[in-house]
Symmetry: C2
Subunit: 354 residues, 2 copies
Amino acid sequence: MPSATPVSPKIRPDESLADSVVFNDIVSAAATLRGIAHRSPVLTSRAIDTLTGASVMLKCESFQRVGAFKFRGAYNAISQLPGNANGVLAYSSGNHAQGVALASAMLGVRAVIVMPADAPAVKIAATRGYLEAGGAQTGSVKGSEVVTFDPATTVREELGARIAEERGLAIVPPYDHPHIIAGQGTAAMELIEDHGPFDALYVCCGGGGLLSGSAIASRAMQPGCRVVGVEPELGDDVTESFRTGVLHAVHRPPTIADGARTPRPGRYTFPIIRRDVDAMMTVADDELRSAMRLVFERMKLVVEPSGVLGLAGVLRDAKERPELVRGRRIGVLLSGGNVDPAEFSGLISGGGRA
Amino acid sequence: MPSATPVSPKIRPDESLADSVVFNDIVSAAATLRGIAHRSPVLTSRAIDTLTGASVMLKCESFQRVGAFKFRGAYNAISQLPGNANGVLAYSSGNHAQGVALASAMLGVRAVIVMPADAPAVKIAATRGYLEAGGAQTGSVKGSEVVTFDPATTVREELGARIAEERGLAIVPPYDHPHIIAGQGTAAMELIEDHGPFDALYVCCGGGGLLSGSAIASRAMQPGCRVVGVEPELGDDVTESFRTGVLHAVHRPPTIADGARTPRPGRYTFPIIRRDVDAMMTVADDELRSAMRLVFERMKLVVEPSGVLGLAGVLRDAKERPELVRGRRIGVLLSGGNVDPAEFSGLISGGGRA
């Protein structure tokens, strides 16, 4: 049974927004990111190939700067800021905050990051670290800071909008912007350049920035490839929207995949997904735990729960729809590796079907 | 205060045995291993470079087949078996068991692996898996098996010797053999080929197979490089033997670095270490925990306690003897990544100076 429900009043996406990003925007983003973002390594695992009967290539964005693909979109967006902006603002307690912090410091752009005061202390500290040191490369930019708020009394969007207005800052959204989508698309572009064409490409889906960018790259570079978006069962807003054509939402999905707790698809990302993605599927949190444990044990990699969504999708399909997987060349994006030690310990040691 | 004590009667190593392995043996081993062992990736970390003030290159043998460098020496040794051997025998509860199991299966050689019945079930299962499937490549060899014994009533060396004699098997020692040393030396050789010359090379030391092979490779390829062996404080047998020139031993060192719990230096490895290694040092178990947590958090890598000995040595020197580290190009071997989820969780979450 779906977790997501239709938003009211019923909203059909504006299909014309799918044209806001074209493949050439991803090519341009790749030029912007050359020498700046890592060309992250692509690893394989005999254990995973044996389990699936396929040849699976995993693009490890866990090794990307700030530990996740989010740096790509943030840097691409901030490097194209309108001239009248005094800087940027982002609200996020996750990888987007760190991506914007590092990218803005590297570009010498002032950045305000709005984070809940109860976010993990290590994440706040890491974000401050990037703002202050620019990854030890550039030093701090005047006026850059982390602003914390009490989530019990404050709505972050309102606080963010007020600060942005007062200080003349441009808001950098976590996924729903053409420059973000184009930046995220460079990860799949690299994977296809290095090891494509693939028969299928499995991509995690939260707000859909990585998925929509990947789908555009794949459609242009390997039109015969099946592009699959994978969401957590408990946060199946994109899957249900995709299935029905009507916008669905899940309020605070209680999944362990914290990077995919976005409540609804984006205005830009969703029309692209509807047009260029072949299938959406969901996986249970237990399947994410199993996949995390598999990459821990057999690949010696630390990947966060959202980061294994694509792999969990391949493993599920290998069991339930083997004709889609056996003998195929399959690309997977492992999207990030930022997870607290205590949380990671609980996830790999605890239950699940490992 | 040293943990190791001189063995009685006092033993001075046979220096002539240092000539049992020459650089050309490592070159030959590399040819044997080409296309068989992985050329493991070398990763860097801005966080580690910032912490140390150096340029540190980490060779990730955690990505090697069976998850540790041990595969290199095992394959090299088994591929040079004398013609009259009916197969091989190894006793080990660790990475050596898995290395011998996979290498023998790949070479079509019968292997008996003697393991204590109380070894972690996953390790026994993994070793059986390699024997049975040869990494899903070759299938099982007739007569290959894991033999378990009760460590309370049985001395493994005696059991191993009896089975080897009865079945005509050659014993493959975990470190103290010229073919093993030559095989292990290929890891440093690759690192130096790809990124050398280095100012210093930090290598973990258990029985000294990896360290002695690395020292021979380094001496030949980059004679000006300082080669440092790093042991756990609680198992400082090689360090004390190195310092005094007299063989020291530690009975069952209680360190978390299970790969470095060897009681004493080898007959072959030690004379090489005395001749070609510039310094031995020890690090505390807490420093190993910190280093594991650092590579977990900042590099998203799973490395076992013994695997971070070299890195912990660099971090210690960066603090206490910065003149040896700052501004230098430093090579480090991360030797393996085989650690149980529960154990890993305890190590990265628990105490330590992270």
